[in-house]
Structures are given as C-alpha cells and as structure tokens.
C-alpha cells in the first residue's frame, strides 16, 4: 500500500459499518450492484454518495463508484493512480477513467455477471434528491450502461444511500463538530474584518482564509450578502464598501474530510439595527424550543408547526417585534446534499412526514419575521438529534454579532 498523505481520515470500522448498512438494504431490494456516478456539481455535493462509499474525494474531481453486493468496491477517477490511493485506505481497487467514466463503469460491471441483474444507480432521477430533482447521472454515462446491459434492470438506488446517510455514526458527528469549530473560527475572522470602508469581498476573503488555514477543504458552499437590511443571502460576495449600520448575513460551511456543518450568523458593522435586536429574542426562543423538541419520533411537519405556534405565543404585543411570525428552515448536514429538508419552498408530504431519528444531524436556522415583513432575523447552528432533545455542535453565543470597528 502506498504511503498515505497526512490527511484526516475515517476509520476502517466506519467503512465496514457503512458497507454493511448499504448491503443490507441492497439485499432486501435484490440489488446486485450500485453505481454511484461521477458529478462534481454543486461544490461536489452531487457526488457525496461516491465519497461516502469509497472515501475518495476532496477538491472537486470527478469520481464514480461501483459498489457490489458481494466483492470488491471500485473507485473510478481520472489520474486515479497518483491521486487516490495516497489519501485513503478504504478502497484498494482504484481504476483509471481517463474522463470516460461510463466505459470504466461498464468494464467493472461486466466482472459481476449482471447482464440480467438488477443494477442500482444513485441519482438516476426517478427519486428526487434533496437538491437534485432530476438526478445526477449524466445522459452519456447512463447511455453506456444501458447499451452494455440491455437486459439488466436499472433501478434508482437514491433512497438506499439517503436512508443510510440520514443517521450519523459517532465518527461522523465528531467530524461535523470539527467542521463547526472551523466555521466559528471563520465567523470570528469575519467579525474582525468587517469595518466601515472595507470591501464586502475582503471580509469574505478573511472568512475563507480562516477556514482554509484551519483545515477546510475547498470548495464549500457559502452564501453571503451585506447591506442595510438585506433579506436573503446571495451565493457570492460583492465589491460593495461596508458602512456603519450594515449587516452581513451568511450561511457558512466548512468541509472537514468532506463533511460540512453550517452556521448562520448575522454580523453588524458597529451598531445593531433596533428591530433586529428585538427580533433575535423571538428567534432565540423559537430555536430553543425546536432544539428541546428534537427527539426521535418528532416529524418535520410537527417541528414546522411548533415554530409557527411558538412565534405566535411569544411575540411581544408592542415594539418592532410585535406580531412577529416564525418560519423554520432545517436540512440535513453531512457529506453533501443531505436530507431531510424543510424550507418555506420544499415541503413535500413525504418530507413533512419524516420522523427524526437519533443521531440525525441538521442545520437548524429558524427565522423571526417582523409583522410588516420588513425585517427577517435568522440565526443557525448545526444540531444533533438525541433522546434528550437536540444538541448544538457550535459553541458561540446565540446572539447578533457586532464588529466593533
């Protein structure tokens, strides 16, 4: 085996746990082999299944996996030999694609005699992924598999990986806690850099630098916007010059071995908006009540309802937060494109009915919204579902941050 680079890794026991769990479901569904296709889209979120099974990933290369019910697991990559055997010890069969992944997948599938078998494909598109309603396998890759195995049954295996990945092991939770630690260092850097006269882009750069020097991989998904009263983040910073009274709102992720927690932390430049100062009290109470209720068995729909009712019951009768409403946004955290998800726009009955399970990890980021809709206060942390309620992975105080200048 080649010498491994100094890079954080999961244990072999973690590998065996995952493989066993996936194979149990494959056996139940009579699936002979699963193909997890290459697709480095959305900051490599769309390729999370491959990395979950092979431990090959990081940066944004294309990597596919062939995962049999019985037999050796294969990772397929371009420049495979120099790059992937040196960063992980899970998958010994690393094969060269030379960018033709479909061909390499077909070659490997032929070794399993599945001409009339049942081939599972994650991201086939028949079952919606969290952010991939039309799947992740490229037409050209699918076509090669279909043509090579005309008598095989191609089935969507998205649900199998989603189900296994919903519940995190202790190793995964530890890794997500490390990711959260890096995010909070980035938030500190953001607070230090955000001063009047400084470019929004430079503050973003300071936050990204803090992440990378503390071990985050790139790319990561980080949303961001600054202004007097921005209501929604963008996917990018701008060249805007910060002024006293501005606020930067964000969704920051850091990637530790590919695992991304998330933090949401409004940062005000020198002075906090008075309406936001009142709304954060409502928001904090909503967050805490949701956190208390994050126990196995509660459904996503019940949590959304709890948010709305909490806001109704605690919103003050007067002042800027009078009549404030609450909205819950939560989604799974992990290796990428994790579920379940609840947002004001993504509430399918299937997802609303989903019950929490112990050791699910989600970002919990409810909003408190002023009665006139003019102000939205959102704060969030990554949390673990436990028997006793949710547990935060972050350690920073639940409050609006002020960059003192």
């Amino acid at each position: 085996m080649p010498e491994l680079y100094p890079y954080p890794r999961f244990s072999l026991a973690e590998r065996d746990r995952r493989w066993k769990a996936v194979r149990e479901l494959m056996r139940q569904q009579n699936i002979d082999v699963i193909v997890a296709p290459q697709n480095s889209g959305h900051s490599a979120d769309y390729q999370a299944d491959t990395r979950y099974l092979t431990h090959c990933g990081g940066g944004e290369p294309d990597v596919a996996a062939v995962f049999p019910l019985d037999g050796e697991v294969t990772a397929i990559a371009t420049s495979a030999a120099p790059r992937w055997p040196t960063v992980q010890d899970w998958t010994m069969d690393v094969r060269e694609a030379r960018r033709n992944y479909g061909r390499a997948i077909v070659d490997r599938l032929k070794e399993f005699n599945v001409e009339r078998g049942r081939i599972g494909i994650t991201g086939l598109g028949e079952i919606e992924g969290t952010r991939t309603p039309e799947g992740t396998i490229f037409y050209g890759t699918w076509k090669q598999i279909r043509e090579a195995f005309p008598s095989a049954e191609l089935v969507d295996a998205t649900k199998i990986l989603a189900q296994v990945r919903y519940v995190k092991s202790q190793e995964e939770i530890d890794v997500l806690a490390k990711s959260m630690e890096i995010i909070e260092l980035a938030i500190q850097a953001e607070i230090s850099a955000a001063q009047p006269g400084v470019k929004d882009w430079e503050v973003w750069a300071a936050a990204q630098y803090a992440m990378m020097r503390h071990g985050s991989e790139m790319p990561v998904h980080c949303f961001w916007v600054s202004g007097k009263n921005p209501k929604r983040t963008l996917t990018r910073p701008s060249m805007r010059i910060l002024e006293r009274g501005d606020v930067i709102i964000n969704e920051l992720e850091a990637s530790w071995i590919g695992y991304r927690s998330q933090g949401v932390q409004p940062v005000f430049v020198e002075v906090i908006n008075p309406a936001q100062a009142e709304l954060i009290k409502v928001q904090r109470e909503i967050f805490n009540r949701v956190l208390e209720s994050l126990k196995p068995g509660i459904s996503v729909g019940e949590l959304a309802e709890l948010t709305r009712k909490t806001a109704e019951s605690i919103a003050p009768k007067s002042g800027p937060a009078a009549g404030a409403s609450g909205d819950l946004t939560m989604h799974g955290r992990g290796a990428g494109d994790d579920g379940p998800i609840i947002t004001p726009h993504a509430r399918s009955p299937r997802q609303l009915g989903l019950a929490m399970q112990e050791n699910m990890v989600l970002v919990c980021k409810p909003s408190a919204i002023s009665a006139d809709g003019e102000y939205i206060c959102q704060w969030g942390d990554t949390v673990v579902v436990t028997e006793n309620g949710g547990r935060r992975l972050g350690k920073r105080p639940h409050e609006l941050a002020v960059a003192a200048g």
């Binding site: 680079y5 100094p6 900051s43 430079e202 020097r213």
Partner: protein, 394 residues
C-alpha cells in the same frame, strides 16, 4: 457590484452563436447547469448569460429568435439586478427538464431542432453534463422534436476571444501573480501546505478572485505532481512546491504553473525546468495566426530533443485553451493531438502554455507555464513575472 461585460460584447456573442445555429439548422439551444470541476463545466451557459460564480447553477434556454431565458435555483430576483444581459431570469429549482419544456413550449418549438450543448464531448467531460432524466423529460415532452449535440459548436464559438475577454483574462493573470507572491513569501520550513494554500486563496479573493477555482498545490521532496487537497505536511528545506494556479475574474480563468524550490534545487529538476522554459519560448515564438497545432507540437518535440539530448523527452500536456472553463482547443493527450493537428491558430485564442518535460530514465518530470494570447503579430504572455524556477532561500 460584480465584474460586468458590455452589452456590445453580448450582442457580438449572440450574433455569432445565432449565425452558427442558423447554419446548422438549430432552433433553440439548451445549455445545462453544472458547476462541477470548479465550475469549468458550465462555461457555455455563463458565456451567454454572464450569470455564475460561487457555484451558482444557471440553466439557459437560448432561442435563435426570441428572448434568452436563464433559470437559477432560487435567486432570480437578484440576478435580474446584478447583470444587464438577460432580462428573463427565473427561479427554476434545478428542475431543468421541466424548465426547458416550459420555455420551449412558450417559444412554440415543440417540433423544432433543439441543440444541447453538453450532451456529450466536453474536453473534460466526454459523457456530457446534462442529467439523463432531464434529457428523457424533454424527449418525452417533445416526441416530434429533433435533439442534436451542440457542444462542438459552442466550443468553436468560444475558442476565439474578444478584446474584452482578453482583458478579463489579463485581470485573472494579475491576480494569479499576486497569489504567487504570497506563496513565495509563505514558503518556509515548518509552514504547512494548508497554511500556504489558505494564504494564497486569501490574496486571490481579496483582489477580486472568485470561487470555486482550480488551484492545486503540494509540497515535498522530489515531487512531480500536485494533489487535489492541501495537507498538514510541513515544508522542509529542499522541498519542491508543485502547483497549478488559476484565479477567476468574472468567471475567466488564466493559469500559471510556477514551481518553487525551498533551498537549492537538484540538478536534474533545474535541467528539466530549463528545457521546459526553452520549449515555452520556442513555441511562443512560433504561435501566430495560421500555424497549425501539429506544427507547434513539432516545435515542442524538436526543442526537447535538441536540449534534452536523449536524457529528456516530451510529455502531455503542452497547452490548452483558457477562458470560462473547459475551453478548446485543448491538447491534453494523443487523441486531442490527432483531432487538432491540422487546425490553425487564430488571433484571439488564449492558452496556458506549459510544456512538460520528463526524464527518460526516471519518473522525474517538470513544467513551467504561463497564459498566452495569440495576436495578429504573434503571441504574447499575459503574465509579467520572470518565468523561471523560483528558489526560496532559507
């Protein structure tokens, strides 16, 4: 608030693409959203909308006649304000098949010829970038439409850059060189790869660079290759730092290959870098409109033979185009050489020129490189740094 291109540039592109669509009988182009490979794979969609960056997925429907439509996941309102090229920006929630069907129905092109750029044949994604189920949805919705692959058409349109595009690439090259200064400053014994990497990204972003961007860096004794992820490895005296550095400005990415040795270089490595530099100069000298890629490759081979004297040989890659991502022509391997050997260079083509040299009797290899633009009078570098092996004294 973000880098912009002019409306004249938009009109130039639209006219060029529509002329080619007419020639090929294409009624409507579908340009997929995929931010994979550091957002290189979405170059076509961004080329016709300017929308993108920071992993913004943009799916574009571009008719030969009529308004262009861009589908964003959920931030259409902002993008309507942030750019001036496309007025019809919609929230599409990544339901790209549904999005395309909606717009094609509006355009009345149910029986038309639909060109999909990204169906197959990208340089770094030969199997394309459009999901199987998106294609199936369109085929099912429009059984009388004809679907064709428009990938090569877009590659050809994008291969020649306008003056505005070259100026964006010059900005990118300038950011890269600031990043290189940061690398050299931080390349000291005891400093980890991650720390250097982070500092370089900080410089890149603080000077207007965009994420995600392809940027590899590895340090170690006798290294010949960089890895995708920086590690905790701490630099030691005598190490090499091998890199491939891109910085994006408005989506445009030049590239530099800038090896560094911490302490004194070994003779063989220095020799290979010197030969790579000789090849760079010889090829640059030969680059002018009308010369074929095959002739440039001959110059490369002859220069290595002349300077290498049998001890060193040529190796892929030698050059590939720069721009918004997955640009062509690209000489990445033997098949590309076969495909492009008789194709002529044109003024406005931009390449990373990084001739690689390998040792005939060992695994050693090395390259040095910079981004260059072909002009009517020959080619010129976009970078300004001295092109040499950087030796950091410690």
């Amino acid at each position: 608030m973000i880098p912009q291109l002019s409306l004249q540039e938009r009109d130039r592109r639209y006219q060029k693409v529509r002329t080619e669509m007419k020639r090929q009988g294409i009624d409507c182009l579908v340009l997929p959203a995929n931010t994979g490979r550091w957002e290189q794979l979405q170059g076509d969609s961004r080329y016709l909308t300017t929308i993108g960056g920071f992993a913004t997925e943009v799916f574009t429907v571009f008719p030969r006649e009529g308004d262009v439509t861009a589908y964003i996941f959920n931030r259409a309102a902002w993008w309507k304000q942030a750019q001036r090229w496309v007025g019809d920006v919609r929230d599409g929630r990544n339901r790209w098949g549904e999005n395309a069907i909606e717009r094609i129905n509006e355009l009345g092109l149910q029986k038309g010829t639909i060109g999909i750029s990204g169906l197959a044949g990208l340089f770094r994604a030969p199997e394309g970038i459009i999901p199987y189920s998106s294609v199936k949805a369109m085929q099912d919705a429009f059984p009388h439409a004809k679907f064709v692959n428009a990938t090569e058409m877009m590659q050809e349109v994008r291969s020649v850059k306008s003056a505005e595009e070259v100026s964006m690439l010059e900005r990118s090259a300038a950011i890269i060189e600031k990043t290189i200064e940061t690398m050299v400053e931080n390349a000291n014994p005891g400093v980890s790869e991650k720390e250097i990497y982070g500092a370089m990204v900080h410089t890149m972003l603080a000077n207007g660079g965009e994420l995600p961007t392809l940027f590899f860096l590895s340090a170690g004794p006798g290294l010949t290759n960089s890895s995708f992820v920086p590690t905790d490895y701490q630099i030691q005296k005598g190490d090499r730092i091998i890199d491939e550095i891109e910085a994006k400005y408005g989506g445009y990415a030049a590239q530099a290959v800038c090896p560094v040795v911490v302490g004194a270089p070994d003779d063989e490595y220095q020799r290979m870098i010197d030969i790579s530099r000789a090849c760079f100069d010889a090829i640059l000298g030969g680059m002018k409109p009308g010369i074929t890629f095959g002739s440039l490759f001959d110059i490369y081979r002859e220069t290595v033979e002349q300077h290498g004297k049998g001890k060193y040989a040529w190796n892929h890659p030698v050059m590939h185009a720069r721009g918004l991502g997955d640009d062509g022509p690209a000489l990445l391997g033997d098949k590309d050489l076969e495909r492009f050997s008789k194709i002529e260079l044109q003024a406005g083509m931009v390449f990373i020129l990084k001739p690689q040299v390998r040792a005939a009797q060992s695994k050693g290899r090395a390259s040095i490189g910079d981004t260059v633009v072909v002009t009517e009078n020959g080619a010129r570098r976009l970078g300004k740094r001295e092109l040499k092996l950087i030796v950091k004294s410690v």
